[in-house]
Symmetry: C2
Subunit: 419 residues, 2 copies
């Protein structure tokens, strides 16, 4: 299957490079090779970090019968709309990450596409497969509400404001320096980017056709340190929340800063991360969390769509692979597992015991990270310790040696630490 | 499309009832009506909360040419395996929630199914569409690791132990009384249930074929209050974690209690809830959270699979609906939105101001939930307050009245509260 990529910026380059770098697993999952055949750019002289062929002849690519899928990553609204129309008219499947395009033209595009695949997972919440979840995974449900944190710029800024007490102007400047915010940040901090994504989810949940102009959109520009203090005092987080909610036969669609109680799972989505909570009438709340932006994360969603198109007609293979995979992979023997360990040893409370334990652990290359000793009664104590990364075999042998040496007066407990 | 349900217990009854209760939206999403035609039970005399026809003649249903999909919800391993073999031989699509069956026979079933749809979303993490995410949403990635909290019984118990200091035996008894744990709890607390689910995810991520006997499985039975204290002291949570991890050409598959740093998103999955964190080489970490058990949540996943089967050959419709939906839904006017509000008012620091504000708010049916007043300087103060649920229109009018009455000395800030 041959793919033409229109727009080879950060995401376009990632799509081309991941199709190359992860070719083996992608081929096994798709059941065919997916070739990033060509990239279309405006400026051929600009240096780009890709190995695919580039052209500035868009028409040629759109009319090339050997190209099966057009990936639109150029941005804008009306120009990509015209280009995608042509691609669909030429029978090409389309994948886009363009939320603005969909916020305005999703229903026309649905009509134009008909039976031709048109996919757009990357348009909402970057690498999180939220469209997949909502469109395929939660289909048994009437969706009661969707609450999303879908703009990483705003979430980064608000998290810093609440956790570190930094004021709006300072953190905006920092976000701009880090590349998290644009020179003109209005599209992000004003809530418009999040609104575009909300409209897409609103359509999948409710089939409702509205435009950004129709809904309530407020940005985070007026959040002050007093508001932050109030939030902290009453155990709230502040998030730019996109909300879709069904109330009788009306649908609320709105984007604005919101105070969310800290016990709610979605309030824990911090920094540049995105999170979407969906409440279905049958499944209850489910939540989806991950990177909402970035070249590779966004490309991950674009390529999932391309693989989905390759699988059209037969569906996903039962265990995920069209052709056998994993033949060269084998189960790691239990004793070779490497992780950190927590140990609880019951010992006699007398001099030299800790030294003996440390010596035995050291002889097995197990080094102690943290330790506390707690008296149990007049003669016994508990030593609780965590280790640096060690090998399961060494830990088991060390515990056996410790037991045989008579250092402990009861069975030693061991819990693995995963961090 | 006609569905035969083998086993009409809690989940089977939910499948039948949701197909009836949510018929409109399911039909719009599937593009055809999905009829729960018949349920197969052992004991016809037992009272069940369903309206579908019941039979104890399994063979008749398996041989009924009008049945398109067999939903296996009977439990066990070898008997459902034989039944599913027959269903597949008769050309019927199969949906199952049976993790034990898949832990032992998933590769044989894949071979037997061939091009006949065989789906099993409900077998892992109940209502969370994690198989959907892993098999369809993250396909561009080499999966680096999967860490799952996939046994609600264990997570409920461990959460209570760590949050409330209850000991293992007491909380086990409570979980049994609440129906969260079986009379013989070994399958859950011993880690075997979680291990079955892990093997399924391990296959989708890595294509690796191993059985429960091959992997490291430890339960939560030996977690003591001293371990809990250590975890709290060093900012860890304790979770029964299922881990699949790729290290060079070896795959770690293991289930055991784990200490997880509290800053990690997966450590925040508490109580009976399930959560699965997946790290892909391109997308980074994504996490999936929701109800891992319960009749309706599990049925939500079963029905998503049935709808997926109805859509076979054409894929999911672009915006999620095969036939128009939402025509009777309309956007709620902004002014009718009802939520709670936070207000920050800048006022002169003198007697009577708060009374005036409270009076104006009261006249618009806005009642105050919490309030703090903070001096700003010698003459001014901030009043920060939250309201009970109010209507947007009333709040906007009240703020206008407050402003016009000259009660405030600056612009009033308003943030909506979502809880």
């Amino acid at each position: 299957m041959k793919v033409g990529i229109i727009g080879v910026g950060t995401v376009g380059a990632s799509v081309a490079n991941i199709l190359r770098d992860n070719k083996d697993i992608i081929t096994a999952r798709a059941g065919c090779e997916i070739e990033p055949a060509i990239g279309v750019v405006n400026n051929l002289n600009k240096k780009r970090d890709v190995t695919i062929e580039l052209t500035d002849d868009l028409e040629k690519v759109l009319n090339d019968d050997s190209i099966d899928v057009i990936v639109e990553l150029m941005g804008g609204i009306e120009r990509p709309y015209e280009i995608i129309k042509k691609a669909l008219a030429n029978g090409k499947a389309v994948v886009t990450a363009n939320k603005a395009l969909l916020a305005y033209h999703r229903y026309e595009l649905q009509d134009l596409a008909g039976d031709t695949p048109f996919e757009y997972e990357a348009s909402v919440a970057g690498g999180i497969p939220i469209i997949n979840a909502l469109r395929d995974g939660l289909t048994a449900n009437n969706i009661l509400s969707i609450r999303g944190i879908m703009n990483g710029t705003c979430n980064y800024m608000l998290t810093k404001m609440i956790n570190e007490g930094i004021d709006y102007d300072t953190i905006l400047k920092e976000a701009q320096e880090l590349g998290y915010a644009e020179a003109d940040p209005t599209f992000d901090v004003g809530g418009f980017d999040a609104a575009h994504k909300l409209l897409i989810l609103g359509s999948i949940a409710y089939g409702i056709d509205v435009k950004p102009e129709d809904i309530l959109i407020e940005g985070i520009q007026n959040i002050s340190s007093e508001d932050i203090d109030f939030a902290k005092e009453f155990n709230y987080s502040i998030k730019l929340l996109t909300i879709a909610k069904k109330v009788d036969n009306e649908i609320e669609l709105r984007v604005h800063p919101s105070l969310i109680p800290n016990h709610e799972m979605i309030s824990k989505v911090d920094g540049v991360m995105n999170g979407v909570s969906v409440i279905g009438d049958k499944v209850g709340e489910t939540m989806y969390y991950g990177a909402g932006a970035g070249g590779d994360a966004t490309a991950s969603a674009v390529i999932a769509n391309i693989i989905d198109i390759a699988r059209r007609g037969k569906g996903a293979p039962m265990l995920g692979f069209e052709t056998p995979h994993g033949k060269n992979l084998k189960l790691m023997p239990k004793e070779n597992i490497r992780t950190k360990y927590y140990l609880r040893l019951r010992v006699e409370d007398k001099a030299g015991v800790l030294a003996k334990i440390a010596t035995i652990l050291g002889s097995k290359n197990i080094s102690i990270e943290k330790m506390i000793q707690k008296p149990l009664n007049r003669t016994c104590a508990h030593i609780l310790l965590s280790t640096h990364t060690s090998t399961e075999k060494d830990v088991i042998e060390a515990l056996k040696t410790i037991e045989e040496a008579g250092v402990v007066t009861g069975k030693t407990a061991m819990i693995r630490i995963e961090d």
